[in-house]
């Protein structure tokens, strides 16, 4: 009568790309083989015809934050600047499966962002209105509406942080993060991009204020242009050319439960109690916590953060009380002062920066890949990433998304 969870998932794929030796020189070297790096290479080749490209990854492809995020995709941010790039990304997600010719299990199951206080309610309604003005689907739903969309949410008024309503973006959803990376990698490889794993960048060479090469654990590689897509390690790379970034790298933890029958039809996020939950296609409940307070590169965090996050999850979803925790992990997220990314040019010629996505980079993968490729190809920002310069921290033109960025980002 019913099929087991995951019956519709495809078979495990065969090798989708090669492991080439690095050449001595490339037109463009992308540092970081995560979602953003591979997507950037894909759009460089597809849209701009630039195929003499290497993606250098110090570990294995898409094994950093691309393997560690909670796969939530949405575009309900407050400001026009953010709406531009996140909505561009969401539109690309909507056609990505056909574009890549590869299943990514993009599932537009909607996202609820819960409000737990009067101030939350006011901020949320304001954000719904801002979204609508920008042509982004958004609605305000009352507690009964929340219950209708996601019946397992506890909307009783008798809890410490009662649910007073939520914003709802029906087009939001989740995707299978590994398949996204594999789909992009397969397509980029087919167009001639070299994906080079186990290749750590240890230094950069400049000449006359222009980048000329990168030193790596597999030798020197000359480069016409170098693009950084290194998330939590961006500061370390930028320092190699004396560039200081306004970033702090923090551990961000997430966890999954054992496999369960489908119980959770949507994505639920709560700023105030610090949890976001969805149920993966395979059946695990996937939950994310807030960042650990301290700077850290260790890809692990403190247990009390998980404890806090579980207590929040239990209050919102009493039905989770008997679920078992399967595993927890952490990724290193690069948090910027205004919770918005930094994407664009640098004072070093031919060196491009894509960082500061903090806790929310996965959803931007196609959008930033497209815009960053444009920035690299034309040596000029795409209109969608033009507001996200490094200079904005000096000029004061910040894009403050602390509210809509949701959890501690």
């Amino acid at each position: 009568m019913t099929s087991p969870p995951g019956a519709h998932l495809p078979e495990h794929p065969d090798f989708l790309w090669d492991n080439p030796e690095p050449k001595s020189s490339y037109d463009v070297v992308i540092v970081g083989g995560g979602g953003h790096g591979i997507a950037t290479a894909y759009y460089l080749a597809k849209v701009h015809g630039i195929t003499n490209v290497a993606v250098l990854e110090k570990g294995w492809l898409a094994g950093g934050n691309m393997a560690r995020n909670t796969t939530i995709i949405r575009s309900n941010y407050l400001w026009d600047e953010s709406s531009g790039i996140y909505e561009h990304s969401l539109k690309l997600w909507e056609g990505l499966e056909e574009d890549l010719g590869y299943p990514i299990l993009f599932d537009q199951r909607g996202v609820l962002n819960l409000a737990h206080s009067l101030q939350d309610v006011r901020d949320s309604v304001r954000r719904v209105n801002a979204n609508r003005l920008n042509g982004i689907d958004a609605e305000w739903v009352d507690p009964a509406g929340v219950k209708e969309i996601c019946p397992i949410v506890n909307t009783s008024p008798d809890v410490r942080y009662p649910v007073l309503g939520a914003t709802y973006q029906p087009r939001a959803g989740i995707a299978k993060h590994d398949y996204v990376a594999w789909g992009y990698a397969r397509a980029a490889h087919a167009m001639g991009v070299d994906l080079i794993q186990n290749c750590e960048v240890t230094g950069m060479e400049t000449s006359g204020g222009r980048i000329t090469a990168v030193e790596t654990s597999r030798g020197r590689i000359a480069a016409g242009k170098v693009a950084l897509c290194a998330a939590g390690h961006s500061s370390v790379l930028a320092e190699m050319v004396g560039l200081r970034l306004p970033l702090a790298s923090h551990p961000l933890q997430a966890l999954v439960s054992e496999l369960l029958e489908p119980v959770h039809p949507t994505v639920v996020m709560s700023n105030a109690v610090h949890v976001y939950v969805s149920q993966a296609h395979k059946g695990e409940l996937v939950m994310g916590a807030g960042i650990d307070s301290y700077n850290g590169y260790g890809q692990r965090g403190s247990f009390h953060i998980i404890e806090q996050q579980m207590s929040a999850a239990l209050e919102l979803f009493p039905v989770f009380a008997r679920a078992h925790l399967l595993r927890t992990w952490a990724g290193i997220v690069d948090v910027s002062p205004d919770a918005s990314p930094i994407v664009g040019l640098t004072p070093v010629g031919g060196l491009y920066l894509n960082c500061g996505w903090g806790t929310g980079g996965f959803k931007a993968t196609p959008g930033v890949g497209d815009c960053f490729a444009h920035t690299i190809a034309h040596d000029k920002p795409h209109p969608f990433n033009e507001p996200f310069t490094l200079e904005r921290f000096t000029t004061g033109a910040l894009v403050d998304e602390h509210g809509a960025a949701a959890v501690a980002h």
Binding site: P246, Y294, G296, S302, P337, F393, T394
Partner: protein, 93 residues
């Protein structure tokens, strides 16, 4: 949970503490003389090393006093703690 050795109270659980970011960032001596660039550096730009990092902690649920620590951001090991006003001790990571 990590134990943090408060210089006044001794080792206590991390949950008793509040993080304060990079240590030894002095308020500008003559704020009105700063350029926008210098203000930006002071307000937004901090060291973000992979390795030993001098940082501030407050023992919020204990003595409520601030102190400094050197911690390796790769392992999260606390290499040294010292009181505010003292120079950063030499550490080997």
């Amino acid at each position: 949970m990590q134990l943090i050795p408060c210089p006044w109270c001794g080792p206590r659980e991390e949950a008793e503490f509040h993080y304060g970011g990079q240590a030894h960032v002095a308020y500008p001596e003559d704020p009105s003389a700063l350029t926008d660039e210098e203000w930006a550096r002071y307000v937004f730009f901090r060291d973000n090393p992979s390795g030993p990092f001098a940082e501030r902690w407050s023992h919020n649920a204990g003595c409520r006093r601030w102190f400094n620590a050197v911690r390796d951001t790769r392992t999260h090991d606390l290499l040294a703690v010292y009181r505010v006003g003292e120079p950063m001790p030499e550490v080997t990571a």
